[in-house]
Amino acid sequence: MSAHSPAAPRFGRALEHDSVLHRRNPTVKLLVLLAVSSVLLVPVDIATPSLVGLALVPAAVAAGRLPMRTLVTTCAAFAPFACSLLAVNAVTREGEVVAQVAGLEVTRTGLVVGASLAVRTLVVGALAVVFTTTTDGPRLMTSLHQHARLPARVTYAILAGYRVLEGLPDAWTTIRRAQAVRDPTRRRGAPLPRDPASLGRAAFALLVGALRQGERLATTLQLRGLGSGPRTVHRPVRLGPADAVLVLVTLGVCALVVAATSRAGWLLTWSTLG
């Protein structure tokens, strides 16, 4: 069907296989993701986000039939941010000093908060990866229009913008070559220039091209009748009982974990932080 490897995620497109999560309503999935990440804003202990992650991430990966390799490679993108959260918090929080590193004081509170935030980043990152790899961008837009009452002008403008974005990598390569060959002193096969001025000029041409195409697409949207009155949706996105189950299970797991860690006395929040 496609020359691309089925496990290679592409911007704005769900992986090509089918799964329980592929079939769920995109708006519901987005709201669940936002809800889980909001819940995880509260605790700053290590246990709560870890337990939420241990419960939800494997379940989500299984429900989305996400190849482990895809999960690991895409989550690796969040790892540097997670590490930096740990490092910065470890040396900037007040508390009992447990070590000295390069003249900086590492505190116990700092380590706990940093590790908690790092785990939270990885958990939310993994869930976001599952969301994007099981959700088709255009279906999300249709669903946001249908179920979240986002105006069609907004959702179709986003879709047209997506068309522009899809073309940017090719346009960038072409512009870099087109501008490089303007230099009469250039040697055959020489690498493309990488000085800031050259890159700046290429970025300018890319930006102008993208804006112009965006303008023309916006005109086309109107010439096809967008905004002329009430509209229908050709292939509506379904919202069903299974979507309610997804909400209940996910939020239920979060509630149970918070209740358990609170009962066990592990739960720390920003306000209970010493």
């Binding site: 899809e166 087109a178 060959v181 002193t185 055959r188 041409a205 102008v208 010439l223 096809r224 002329s228």
Partner: protein, 487 residues
């Protein structure tokens, strides 16, 4: 369907592009609009669609009624209930990720019941021979496929008026013939602006001619206008349909030696062979044209010759300049004169400014020397980009579609510029779909098909009726048509 009375349109701070136009087009009537570039043809179509002056600012006087609605005040989206628009570039007209969504979109906007949309999408795609594309992604369509899908999206709601702004301009000859053939039976009143008339089997029965000031100077049955006004059209630089390209009378003597020697050139991109085993000699003093359908590897060949792509085989010779297909992607400066002076300054040519001035004059751009390159019209940008590459003094100049978007006069100016480069002893290679340019300008011809050289040799030989084989084989000439005539 269309009723304009004393209509004039001027963009802010500029002279009017349409003047005192009174035009009546009946329901179901088809009108061909001819005129040089800048004569206001596209502006008129954009006005009839409601784009000018509502989305693009302009001063409009007089009246323009489309299907009984004032086109200058009725929102384009509302006018779209009666009007369908098709322009030249599929990239500007395909807004949604998949073909099916694209064609269903106009019906959704007209609030059709969902159960009626699917069969209508199927019918519209079938009408343009694109039923098999229904589940494809729009980003992955070829130019010809994209234009057919855009036409399906234009026709799906059966608009009473079709505005067609050079719908085949960007297509290769085979795709242009396919799209051209679909327009006449599309139905409704039509206004067609088109330079490539030979690709339309069935021209509209009525033709209007706009002069360079945007005045309607002729209007009548197509046969009469093309016959009776042939002198006027030729003076305006409008190319007549049906006139087969004729070869230049003075073939250049075959030059010896080569400025670029290519042996066994092969390029692989995305896991497939785009070019295989290309041998080519670019000779000084001669213009070589590379022709072939889209996807035959023409543009890749230019990139490889310019040393911008890794390749197998050898390319030996002097310095190479390359004019890309889209001028905007190549601009580096903020004024037209700086743009042309860029190369000479970089090469530390003494008197770069004078060189730039002369080059601008040779492509009729002197009045725009201080204009921002990005703000020029498409045709002006094309001339600027060719001039900017021509002044660099490369041993070989490569140009991808150098005459795109030009009318007869400016096209001839570009051809003359390329010819003069060759006459100075440079090698010139053009990639083009324009067989008239080939016949007028070109000494040697290379016919590409599926990444291989199908034929090469003196253009006079390959264009003669006796040797039409390669052009037919490459799909460049319609079966039964003749590529050129002996002089």
């Amino acid at each position: 369907m269309i009723d304009t009375t004393h209509l004039s349109v001027a963009y802010p701070g500029r002279a009017p592009v349409v003047r005192d136009l009174t035009l009546h087009v009946d329901a179901g009537e088809r009108l061909l609009l001819l005129g040089p570039s800048g004569s206001g043809k596209s502006t008129l179509l954009r006005l009839l669609a409601g784009v000018v002056p509502q989305l693009v600012d302009a001063d409009v006087t007089g009246q323009a009624l489309v299907a009984g609605h004032d086109a200058t005040t009725t929102e384009p989206a509302a006018l779209a209930r009666h009007v369908g628009t098709l322009t030249q570039n599929p990239a500007d007209q395909l807004c949604l990720p998949t073909v099916e969504e694209e064609v269903a979109f106009p019906l959704e906007n007209r609030a059709w019941p969902p159960e009626r949309i699917s069969p209508a999408v199927e019918r519209a795609l079938a009408r343009v021979g694109a039923a098999h594309l229904r589940h494809r992604r729009t980003a992955e369509l070829s130019g010809g496929e994209g234009q057919r899908v855009a036409l399906a999206a234009t026709l799906v709601a059966d608009p009473g008026l079709l505005l067609l702004d050079e719908p085949t301009a960007l297509l290769d000859p085979a795709a242009a013939r396919t799209v051209g053939r679909l327009l006449a039976p599309a139905g409704g009143a039509q206004v067609l602006v088109e330079h490539r008339l030979d690709e339309h089997l069935d021209l509209p029965g009525r033709t209007g001619v706009l002069d360079e000031d945007g005045r309607l100077v002729a209007d009548g049955p197509t046969r009469e206008v093309l016959h009776d006004q042939a002198g006027l059209l030729s003076a305006l630089g409008v190319r007549l349909p049906g006139a087969p390209p004729t070869l230049r009378r003075t073939p250049r003597p075959a030059a010896t030696g080569s400025v670029l020697r290519v042996r066994g050139l092969g390029v692989r991109r995305g896991g497939r062979d785009v070019l295989t085993g290309v041998d080519l000699d670019v000779r000084p003093g001669r213009v070589t044209a590379v022709v072939g359908l889209n996807g035959s590897g023409k543009s890749t060949l230019l990139l490889a010759l310019a040393g911008l792509l890794p390749h197998e085989g050898t390319v030996d010779g002097g310095s190479v300049g390359l004019v890309f297909q889209q001028p905007e992607q190549q601009f580096l400066a903020r004024t037209a004169s700086d743009e042309v002076a860029w190369g000479p300054r970089r090469a530390k040519v003494p008197d770069a400014e004078r060189v730039a001035r002369e080059a601008l004059a040779s492509v009729h751009l002197t009045p725009l020397a201080d204009a921002d390159p990005f703000r020029l019209s498409g045709g002006q940008q094309r001339r600027l980009s060719v001039a900017a590459a021509a002044v660099c003094g490369h041993d070989v100049l490569l140009a991808d579609e150098p005459t795109f978007g030009q009318d007869g006069r400016t096209g001839a100016a570009l051809a003359a510029l390329l010819r003069s480069l060759a006459d100075e002893g440079h090698g010139v290679v053009v990639v083009t779909h324009d067989l008239t340019l080939v016949a007028d300008l070109v000494d040697d011809l290379v016919v590409l098909g599926h990444g291989r050289v199908l034929a090469q040799g003196p253009a006079a030989d390959l264009l003669s009726p006796a040797h039409d084989g390669p052009l037919h084989a490459a799909g460049l000439v319609a079966p039964g048509a003749r590529a050129g005539q002996p002089s």
